[in-house]
């Protein structure tokens, strides 16, 4: 079902539930994975994904079609993720690296990553990025989102996004290289 048809049916109380069900089915995986890459843990991602769709339901009636529906949903998901991570730090008085360490520990427990050394280093390097830069990196590297669309999601200029992405790539490469050197040195020492 096309977005405009979902929106038209959502306006009609008789077909509202059906239209929203279609919307969830259409976008659930993209929203889930967008959130999951930010919070790593499945349980947190599950809660946040549901919160995102509850907000979509709540505000979809006010949605102005000057933006794409998916861009709008992505923006809600992004704000939920950033708000979640911010409140997590505030709640537990954790500095940046401690939340990063907590996410890294969850990453190490993920069976899809744990067995692949270089992939684990890469994911840890991504987790070391500041939240907003990590978000930019994920949108570009994994979701292959065009910069123009990213600008709509994040409310940041295209130029700033390009700079942020390239800076993120450089930091990731430096971290993984340094981790490789440390690993090589420790291997050599052994």
């Amino acid at each position: 079902m096309e977005d405009h048809e979902i929106l038209r049916k959502f306006q009609d109380p008789a077909s509202r539930n059906l239209a929203f069900n279609q919307l969830v089915r259409k976008y659930q995986q993209k929203v889930y994975w967008h959130v999951r890459k930010m919070v790593v843990d499945h349980a947190d991602a599950d809660d946040l994904t549901q919160d995102v769709f509850v907000k979509v339901w709540k505000y979809l009636g006010d949605f102005r079609q000057d933006a794409q529906l998916f861009t709008w949903i992505y923006r809600i998901a992004t704000n939920e993720c950033l708000g979640f991570l911010k409140s997590k730090r505030r709640k537990f008085f954790l500095p940046l690296n401690d939340v990063g360490a907590e996410l890294a520990a969850k990453l190490e427990a993920d069976p899809a990553v744990a067995g692949d050394e270089i992939e684990l280093k890469l994911q840890k390097a991504i987790l070391r990025l500041p939240d907003k830069q990590r978000l930019v990196f994920n949108l570009r590297y994994y979701d292959e989102m065009p910069y123009e669309q990213m600008a709509e999601v994040t409310g940041t200029s295209v130029g700033a996004l390009k700079a942020s992405y390239h800076h993120a790539v450089r930091k990731i490469e430096e971290y993984v290289t340094a981790a490789d050197v440390r690993g090589y040195s420790s291997d050599a020492a052994n």
Partner: protein, 149 residues
């Protein structure tokens, strides 16, 4: 020595680098979401127009309403003192009036006994004697001191 890591040469895990969610998760998620959004189908606490205004405006409205209610209750609570007219007392049956005065005000029948009133003409005449009448009255009084003892 290992060469520096290059992201563009690393095989990207696409579309997702992390492990998949539990089996059947995406089949159940729409049902769970629908259960959440369908639950508050009951009537909302605030009307839609009130929900559309900001919290500060709502607070202002609530304060004004509270103040208005207070002022109205004060205004309506002060009853005007109406004069007790003779007409309204005259409408009360005599037996009820008597019962009220003896039971509530605790007056007895002696207090309520009707005193005979003197005719007004006699009083006026009695209290306003003429000069000759006064002179006659004084002359009629005994003048010797023995009569005063």
């Amino acid at each position: 020595m290992k060469p520096p890591f290059r992201l563009d040469q690393h095989p990207r895990r696409w579309p997702q680098p992390l492990s998949a969610p539990p089996a059947g998760y995406f089949e159940q998620l729409p049902t769970r979401v629908m259960a959440q959004v369908a639950a508050p189908a009951c009537r909302p606490l605030l009307p839609s127009w009130l929900r559309s205004v900001s919290a500060s405006v709502r607070t202002g409205l609530a304060s004004t309403l509270l103040l208005g209610t207070f002022a109205a209750s004060l205004w309506l609570g002060v009853e005007p003192v109406q004069p007790l007219s003779a007409t309204s007392l005259g409408d009360v049956p005599r037996a009820e009036l008597l019962d009220y005065l003896t039971s509530e005000v605790h007056l007895d029948m002696t207090d309520l006994a009707e005193l005979p009133t003197r005719p007004l003409g006699i009083t006026n005449h009695y209290l306003r004697p003429s000069a000759p009448e006064l002179a006659d009255a004084f002359d009629a009084q005994p003048t010797d001191e023995a009569a005063l003892l």
